[in-house]
């Protein structure tokens, strides 16, 4: 799909640029909101893995807890990436 066709308002380059900019800001907000929701999900996952590990303790439990924390850190890194680079 040609992005310019979405914002082509009869050759007015100024309005076109403004709309493209507004659209990108809108997309950025979507990205950031999705990343925030994902961070919340990751926090719940860390908490739940901790509870699960306490409910059933196996030799793998500490490793799974570490994985959940790494996943949360990755989610935070992605959120940071979206906020700073987009």
């Amino acid at each position: 799909m040609d992005p310019n066709s979405l914002f082509n308002l009869g050759g007015n380059a100024g309005v076109e640029t403004q709309l493209t900019g507004a659209f990108l800001v809108f997309v950025k907000v979507l990205y950031v909101v999705a990343a925030i929701l994902y961070v919340l999900f990751s926090i719940v996952m860390v908490r739940q893995v901790k509870i699960m590990g306490e409910t059933l303790s196996t030799s793998l439990s500490p490793f799974l807890r570490l994985l959940a924390i790494v996943h949360l850190l990755a989610a935070l890194a992605v959120l940071f990436l979206f906020v700073t680079t987009l």
């Binding site: 994902y38 719940v44 030799s59």
Partner: protein, 230 residues
């Protein structure tokens, strides 16, 4: 005064000393290998990912009594997890399809890269969550009771237990093509406990497990008759 009204006679009665009591009252419980033909053939399991772990080592659960021994720990048969594994593999390769049809081509490159990063993060989260759900949804048989630990989602946990002597009926059912090929099925246990029915879903070797439960019920009855401590 007739003796029947003499309360002091009752008070004089003291419990028998330890040595005078019947020896059968303090017989310890037998080890599962002594009474279970199913378990005597099984070696203690070291395998962390096992769906059928007999006498598992390095495993405990939070409501476990100090004298309680885990005899069998079960999870759903790994073949029943193929669905989410297939979805995960598809999620891994889907971005290649998207790039070939240039789905996000209308966005600047940095947005496309961000979408790719987010996609793989979500895929990783999906795999982790699915694995954790399988790993921690377990069915445990101890020498005292059966326990069903369910994590319905990331938020809801359900732990149910019933003592072996409360079990009334056990049914093992294997159905379908894959169930027959890989020997897995569902065990339904009717109890007189608060939770009336336990279902061990898609566990390996359902007939063997039902046989073990029956052996344990018999042993529990024998313990009760002999007055052994359990």
């Amino acid at each position: 005064m007739p003796e029947v009204f003499d309360g002091s006679a009752k008070k004089k009665k003291s419990p028998k000393p330890e040595s005078e009591r019947g020896a059968h009252e303090h017989k310890p419980s037998r080890h599962v290998d002594e009474y279970s033909a199913v378990m005597s053939d099984e070696r203690p399991s070291h395998r962390t990912f096992a769906a059928y772990a007999a006498k598992p080592l390095d495993t405990a659960f939070d409501v476990q009594a100090s004298s309680e021994v885990i005899i069998l720990l079960m999870r759903q048969h790994p073949i029943t997890q193929v669905k989410w594994v297939a979805i995960a593999v598809a999620l891994l390769f889907l971005p290649m399809l998207f790039s070939s049809i240039d789905l996000l081509g209308f966005l600047p490159l940095r947005f496309q890269f961000a979408a790719l990063v987010a996609w793989y993060l979500v895929t990783a989260g999906f795999v982790l969550q699915s694995f954790i759900k399988w790993f921690y949804n377990v069915y445990i048989i101890t020498d005292e009771r059966i326990i069903d630990i369910d994590f319905h989602s990331l938020i809801f946990r359900d732990v149910s237990a019933a003592k072996i002597d409360k079990i009334e009926d056990t049914t093992a059912s294997t159905g379908g093509f894959w169930g027959s090929i890989f020997d897995y099925g569902t065990i339904t246990i009717q109890t007189a406990a608060e939770k009336r029915e336990f279902e061990f879903e898609d566990v390996p070797h359902p007939t063997r497990v039902a046989k073990l439960i029956n052996e344990m019920i018999i042993e529990e009855e024998r313990e009760e008759m002999e007055g052994r401590v359990s």
